[in-house]
């Protein structure tokens, strides 16, 4: 059977308002209602089979990896709930048509409502635990939307958020519980779960799973101490309350208890957790309801109380109690929905829900009053109404308890007390609203609502009466089927009669009636008593708690992310240190077996130079120019070290990079403070020094350990194939442009991107140029010393020649595109230094951006050229040629690649430096005379 159609129908219905355009409100309501109506009809067609004890199923695989199936299952319990959801849903649709005002977006309301309906149907039809949870959470989300429908009201927003938070938390617990249960039985199918109750209860994780499951159920059905969200959800439009908070959402929790009853119940733990929670909730809700002045508040607490009652019944571990629970589910849904609707009508027509103002409405709306009174009587458990029947069964079952041993009598006594309060608040509802004098200061003069607004109430009240008077005819088969599902088919003997004789439950009922009357009569005393207690508004407490948590979170985050880079870097390095140092503790000898080189004077001198200059850089760091000089020395010594240890390419590269870095740093230093004060506290210095020393020590140790151990590397391959495979003698270069040319392609891309990024940074930069150096001396007047200019310009051709030389020889001897590019760049920068930007600007027009792009493009196309020969990217080609007179020479694709590198490097270096230089040019004359104020230098505004 295509059970999926049942939840699908309202889902489609939810989409109707999207397409309804400007059709009338009634048309909209009607077209929306068609979908659940169709589902209802479809369901009724199937109902007989279910009532006969069949279980209908539908399943397709959805996400097997998590065990999620699209699996539906219709049994008696499901049928009962489906009927409640669909019938009351339809009534609410009708009711809402009249309840919502013209200005309100009814389409949106219906969409949310039908989405919610889908979710509820999904829950009650699920045959897969994950799918059940999916719909479960969907009810939280859609109810959030419904409760906050009047989003302009702060109450609505807060109430909705609170409901979402509580039910969301429960939902997460439920997920954990369902996963555990699924794990216990090895399957997420509900069928399997229900068939394996014994297995579950024997599992050591059963208590955990049970608690998690109950957390889900109790939060949803507003059980103490999670009840507090429900009264605040009353900020929702009344149709929502009538639907969600009587028949559906809160009942989802109850449904969950009933659904898992066969699998989870029957243990002492179940009894204690479920029935005690139910009992407390029952009493607390009933007691508190009496003191509510808000009509809907009273109904909300009454709902809490009745949910407690059902929970208590389900907790009692007796089969009859389960039947009573199921019965009360039906009854509560009918009378509570009608009461909410009546309350909504009163609110709608009188403009108030405050029972202190609402008085004597009997005169104004007798029809509504009559309906409400019948429903309220049912709530109070007055005979001939459905509430009486289930309450009677409840009282009977409370007597049948023995788990509390000698204290078992407590339960019936407390149940009776609860019943008394229930009578009292029902009385208050009736008397306080419809009688009790005249209305006080109502915004509107109350009158009867539109005809069709009452129809849903009438239908529900009629049901109350019908069930109350003819229980056997009206609900027996449904109750049987549903109870059978709860009890896994083991239905107890019971009879739904109005009169069971004069027995203890009857006495309890009478006691409750009398007690209720007494309580209501003496309500003023009670109100005074109640008023002595400080009133805790759950919303305020909850909001306060959330605020408090948020504040604490802010404090934690502020304390942790204090915005100090120094801390972040410290932590990074500290953990890096721990990561590195930990394993070294297992290193028994730092020196390995590899023979070491002999120490000599040169190396020692170099080490001294390096150490001194590095330490000097640190010491002078606050006098920046000097630090820059000692940094240069360090760089120079590093280059020499590379030369010494037979890495000429490295020496060349390090040297050129070092020089160009220093030039760059000087360019930047001009705009930065030349000196800084001592800022770090001694503690911080000690801390940083310790960390630095430790990291240095660890890195040095690792380096030493590595160098003194033999290495079997892949490098021999490069040495043997460099000439034959790569066509070059300089193995390092062949690695760069051939074996690992891809790295180099990435590397020049990095360089190019950096240049672009720097250009972005420069564009739109506003800098203040110092008019003199840090001693306050005005700058020298000699902008371009003649000798420097002249010599520089004559050196340029030579430098270019050297670049070409370095570029061309790279493949066979130290050199290559990168170094050549840097030499060219330095030579051009030299011209800028000697002549200034303006002078050059008119003489050279190179588009450095295009140079970068062209360089990378050349390198990339050289790589892609191999595709033409059906070889992988970057496959190199080289050959030897012979020309008469000139002799042998070699051509290699690597040369093109290297040329690309060269162009990129030149383009990048020049894009950076030339533009950085331009920053100051335009404004410079402004303070040429020496003491002008600091003038802003603005580059052109960055735009595309």
């Amino acid at each position: 059977m295509s059970l999926y159609l049942i939840p699908l129908a309202p889902l489609l219905g939810a989409l109707v308002p999207l397409f309804s355009g400007r059709s009338g409100r009634s048309a909209l309501a009607l077209s929306v209602a068609l979908f659940p109506a169709w589902a209802l009809v479809y369901m009724l067609i199937q109902a007989q089979a279910v009532l006969d004890g069949e279980t209908l199923r539908f399943a397709v695989d959805w996400i097997p990896a998590i065990g999620l199936q699209l699996a539906f299952r219709l049994d008696g319990l499901g049928l009962l709930f489906c009927l409640l959801i669909l019938i009351i849903g339809l009534l609410v649709i009708l009711y809402a048509r009249y309840y919502l005002s013209e200005q309100e977006n009814m389409g949106r309301f219906y969409s949310y409502l039908l989405l919610f309906m889908t979710a509820m149907l999904g829950i009650v039809l699920s045959n897969n635990l994950l799918q059940l949870w999916l719909f479960w959470e969907l009810t939280s989300i859609s109810s959030f939307l419904l409760i906050s429908f009047w989003s302009h009201k702060s109450d609505a927003r807060k109430g909705a958020r609170m409901a979402l938070a509580i039910t969301g938390a429960g939902g997460l617990a439920l997920l954990a519980g369902l996963l555990l249960i699924g794990n216990m039985v090895g399957d997420y199918s509900l069928d399997t779960v229900l068939a394996n109750g014994a297995l579950i209860k024997a599992n050591p994780a059963y208590p955990v799973a049970l608690v998690l499951l109950l957390l889900g159920a109790f939060t949803k059905s507003a059980q103490f101490p999670f009840h507090f969200w429900l009264p605040h959800a009353m900020a929702a439009p009344t149709p929502v309350s009538a639907y969600l908070h009587s028949a559906t959402m809160v009942k989802a929790g109850i449904f969950l208890l009933a659904r898992f009853y066969p699998a989870m119940s029957g243990t002492d733990m179940w009894f204690l957790a479920v029935s005690m929670t139910g009992l407390i909730t029952l009493l607390y809700g009933a007691f508190t309801a009496l003191f509510q002045h808000d009509l809907k508040g009273l109904l909300a607490y009454s709902t809490i109380s009745h949910l407690g009652l059902i929970t208590l019944l389900l907790g009692m571990n007796t089969r009859l109690a389960a039947v009573a629970a199921v019965f009360h589910i039906i009854n509560h849904a009918t009378f509570k929905a009608s009461l909410f609707m009546a309350a909504g009508i009163i609110d709608h027509e009188s403009g108030s829900r405050d029972m202190r103002k609402l008085n004597g409405l009997w005169k104004y709306m007798p029809h509504t009053a009559a309906l409400a009174m019948v429903a309220a009587s049912s709530m109070a458990g007055v005979p001939l109404l459905n509430g009486f029947l289930s309450k009677e069964m409840f009282f009977a079952e409370t007597l049948d308890q023995s788990t509390l041993g000698g204290l078992s009598w407590v339960i019936p006594v407390l149940a009776t007390v609860g019943g008394a309060f229930s009578v009292a608040y029902s009385l208050r509802f009736i008397h306080d609203v419809f009688f009790n004098g005249d209305p006080i200061d109502l915004p509107r003069t109350p009158h009867e609502p539109p005809r069709y607004m009452k129809v849903p109430v009438e239908i529900l009240v009629a049901l109350c009466l019908l069930v109350g008077v003819f229980p056997n005819y009206v609900v027996n088969s449904l109750l049987n089927a549903a109870s059978a599902a709860v009890l896994n088919g083991r239905l107890p003997e019971y009879s739904l009669a109005i009169w069971h004789g004069f027995n203890i439950p009857m006495l309890m009922s009478l006691a409750a009636m009398a007690g209720g009357l007494y309580i209501y009569y003496n309500r003023r005393m009670l109100f005074q008593f109640h008023a002595q207690f400080p009133q805790h508004d759950a919303k305020q407490i909850f909001e306060g708690a959330v605020q408090y948590v948020a504040k604490q979170c802010e404090r934690i985050i502020d304390a942790l992310e204090n915005g100090s880079l120094q801390r972040y870097v410290f932590l990074l390095l500290l953990f890096a240190l721990m990561f590195m140092a930990g394993p070294l503790l297992d290193l028994h000898h730092s020196a390995g077996s590899r023979p070491q080189l002999e120490l000599n004077g040169v190396v020692l001198t170099g080490a001294i130079l390096l150490s001194l200059s590095a330490v000097a850089t640190v010491i002078w760091a606050r006098r920046r120019f000097i630090a820059l000089l000692s940094l240069s020395v360090t760089g120079l010594i590093v280059s020499i070290a590379f030369a010494y240890f037979s890495a000429p390419d490295l020496a060349l590269t390090q040297l050129s990079v070092e020089i160009i870095t220093v030039i760059l740093l000087m360019l930047a230093l001009f705009f930065l403070p030349q000196t800084t004060l001592k800022e770090s506290s001694p503690n911080r210095l000690t801390r940083d020094l310790s960390l630095a020393a430790l990291i240095g020590g660890v890195v040095g140790s690792i380096s030493y350990a590595l160098m003194t151990r033999p290495l079997l590397s892949i490098s021999d391959y490069y040495l043997t194939h460099s000439k034959t495979g790569g066509g070059g003698d300089n193995v390092v270069n062949v690695i760069l442009v051939d074996f690992r040319g891809f790295d180099t392609l990435g590397e020049i891309t990095v360089l190019g991107i950096a240049a672009l990024g720097i250009y972005k940074l420069i564009a739109g930069m506003r800098l203040y140029m110092p008019a003199g150096d840090d001693s306050g001396r005005p700058w020298s007047q000699d902008r371009h010393p003649m000798i420097l200019a002249l010599v520089s310009q004559n050196l340029l051709p030579l430098a270019l020649l050297v670049s070409v030389y370095i570029l061309l020889r790279g493949h066979n001897l130290p050199g290559g595109g990168f170094i050549a590019g840097l030499i060219t760049s330095v030579a051009i920068i030299q011209q800028y230094i000697a002549h200034g930007v303006d002078w050059i600007k008119h003489r050279v027009r190179i588009n450095y951006q295009a140079l970068i792009a062209g360089g990378v493009l050349l390198a990339a196309l050289t790589g892609a050229g191999a595709w033409a020969f059906d070889r992988p990217f970057l496959t190199s080609w080289f050959d030897h040629f012979h020309l008469p007179w000139i002799g042998d020479f070699e051509l290699a694709s690597a040369m093109l690649f290297d040329l690309g590198v060269y162009l990129t490097v030149v383009g990048a270096a020049m894009l950076i430096l030339a533009n950085l230089g331009k920053l100051t040019t335009s404004e410079r004359p402004a303070f040429e005379n020496g003491d002008a104020p600091r003038a802003p230098a603005t580059h052109h505004k960055e735009e595309f």
Binding site: W133, A173, E554, M580, L585, G746, A866, P872
Partner: protein
């Protein structure tokens, strides 16, 4: 061309980026936009083809320069890398479309830099060589530096200083780690390293371990692992929207690298070096998750909240990765797809919301009404539901996968509560965010600036992934399962890489 498929996701954006810098494209924004979108679509097609091939054939290797592995650099397109490549281009498309609605003209070189960023990310996913991984890290980092400052402004500069410095320190550590590993193993090819690692004597093992753990710090930095994540909230919340959205993939590169390196080289088969990361990664990942949740609750604006949700998702992801099991890895993969696209969409959404709310921007205070409350509201709900891991959107599948992967393990009692409570924190934070942003109005008139439809399209494009991930959850999880199995079956992969050639 089919045999060159593995390199196309790198070369296409590279060439595109370069051509966008040259005439005739460099002078015309409309042309740049057209080319960029076209290239992105081409990348999607390429990635889909790659996905298909890896699905059918397992891993593809591509020996650059035709040098045999392990001597040359190889690209390895296995299922994971193919999947992540596709993810990158999908996210890229969303971010790019959004940028084309106007953000790209707030500064120079947006489109070329965007292309280079894609190139870097794809390269990092596809390379089978550890030093080449470093190079691609740098490509994507430098592109991200330049993109981070796109649009200008103090906040961006301030964020960029932190981001750049921290990452430069990270790059230095990366090189220390590489030096250590090369100094012990004598090779750079990841599969070859894995093979050599098993042969190490006790005298070398501690060194390899130090190198491996240092790499964990480096990747953890990218993956925003506690205590290395500090660059993230500020960077992500100050970057311009499409950039922030694109950045959503960057953290995944870090996570991927941990997965790749610590499963292949230091995986179950590495003898004494097996699973060296787990003792650190597991607690740190959970702490990241916790701090991310705390940060989410403390967030004053939607961007900050999204940044913190990114932390949460990284915590979840790394928790899964730390488990070093195929099912957990599969969960991580699925979760990655989900969280990347949703986070990206949230960043875009935050920007759109901020633009419509005047001075209040995306902060959680009352503001003028929005112009497009419905379009944005629906998008927000979708994004929020997905981000909290609530059904029926993709977050829940990812979360359930992860919970199932930890089920029965000793860690369950630790991981489950943290993961679930973090979900609650996200619910609270996002519901607070949504109700403040959409429902608390002042009387001011809506901002006059119109919202280009393209922006909304971009957001919905990314968000569409979430329901689709659920609807097609079956085949997708099947693929992620296969991908994870492939990764953990290191022997087979090593074989592939050793073999060389394409």
């Amino acid at each position: 061309m089919m045999q060159h498929l593995p390199i196309l996701p790198i070369v296409i954006p590279l060439l595109a980026g370069v051509l966008l810098l040259l005439p005739p494209l460099c002078h015309s924004l409309p042309r740049q936009r057209f080319i960029a979108v076209a290239v992105n679509l081409a990348l999607i097609v390429t990635a889909v083809m790659l996905l298909q091939r890896t699905h059918l054939e397992g891993a593809l290797t591509y020996a650059l320069g035709d040098w045999p592995s392990p001597f040359g650099i190889v690209l390895v397109a296995d299922r994971i890398s193919a999947l992540l490549t596709l993810l990158t281009s999908l996210l890229g498309l969303g971010a790019l479309l959004y940028a084309c609605a106007g953000d790209d003209k707030n500064g120079m070189y947006f489109h070329p830099l965007f292309m280079f960023q894609l190139m870097g990310v794809n390269g990092a996913f596809l390379t089978g060589d550890i030093f080449n991984l470093f190079v691609f890290f740098e490509v994507l980092l430098i592109a991200s530096y330049a993109l981070l400052i796109h649009g200008g402004g103090k906040q961006k500069t301030r964020a960029a200083v932190h981001y750049v410095i921290i990452n430069l320190v990270g790059s230095c550590l990366f090189l220390f780690a590489l030096g250590t590993l090369y100094g012990v193993l004598g090779t750079l090819n990841i599969a070859d390293m894995a093979a050599k690692a098993t042969l190490l004597g006790p005298d070398e093992q501690p060194l390899a371990k130090a190198g491996g753990l240092l790499l964990l710090a480096v990747f953890g930095l990218k993956a925003a692992l506690l205590p290395f994540y500090f660059w993230l909230p500020r960077s992500y919340s100050s970057a311009s929207a499409p950039v922030a959205a694109l950045f959503a993939i960057m953290t995944k590169v870090g996570a991927y690298s941990i997965l790749r390196i610590h499963t292949t080289i230091f995986g179950a088969g590495a003898g004494a070096l097996a699973e060296i990361a787990t003792p650190w990664l597991q607690p740190l990942a959970l702490l990241t998750l916790i701090i991310g949740s705390i940060g989410a609750l403390a967030s004053p604006s939607l961007r900050t909240l999204t940044a913190n949700l990114t932390l949460v998702s990284m915590g979840i992801l790394l928790t899964a990765i730390a488990l070093q099991r195929a099912d957990a890895t599969a969960a991580a993969l699925y979760y990655t797809i989900h969280t990347t696209l949703v986070t990206g969409a949230l960043f875009l959404l935050a920007d759109m919301i901020g633009r419509q709310r005047g001075k209040a921007e995306d902060r959680f205070v009352a503001s003028r009404r929005m112009q497009r409350p419905v379009a944005l509201g629906v998008a927000f709900i979708i994004a929020a539901v997905a981000a909290t891991g609530a059904p029926p959107l993709s977050g829940f599948v990812g979360k359930v996968l992860l919970l199932q992967a930890t089920e029965g393990a000793v860690e369950t009692s630790l991981i489950w509560p943290i993961v679930l409570i973090s979900g609650l924190a996200a619910i609270i934070a996002l519901s607070r965010a949504g109700s403040s942003l959409f429902w608390r109005h002042s009387e001011d008139a809506p901002v006059a600036e119109p919202t280009p439809a393209l922006r909304i399209i971009a957001v919905y494009l990314l968000l569409a992934a979430s329901p689709l991930l659920v609807v097609f959850g079956g085949p997708i999880t099947e693929f992620t399962d296969a991908a994870a199995t492939q990764l953990h079956d290191s022997a087979a992969l090593s074989g592939m890489m050793q073999q060389g050639g394409s």
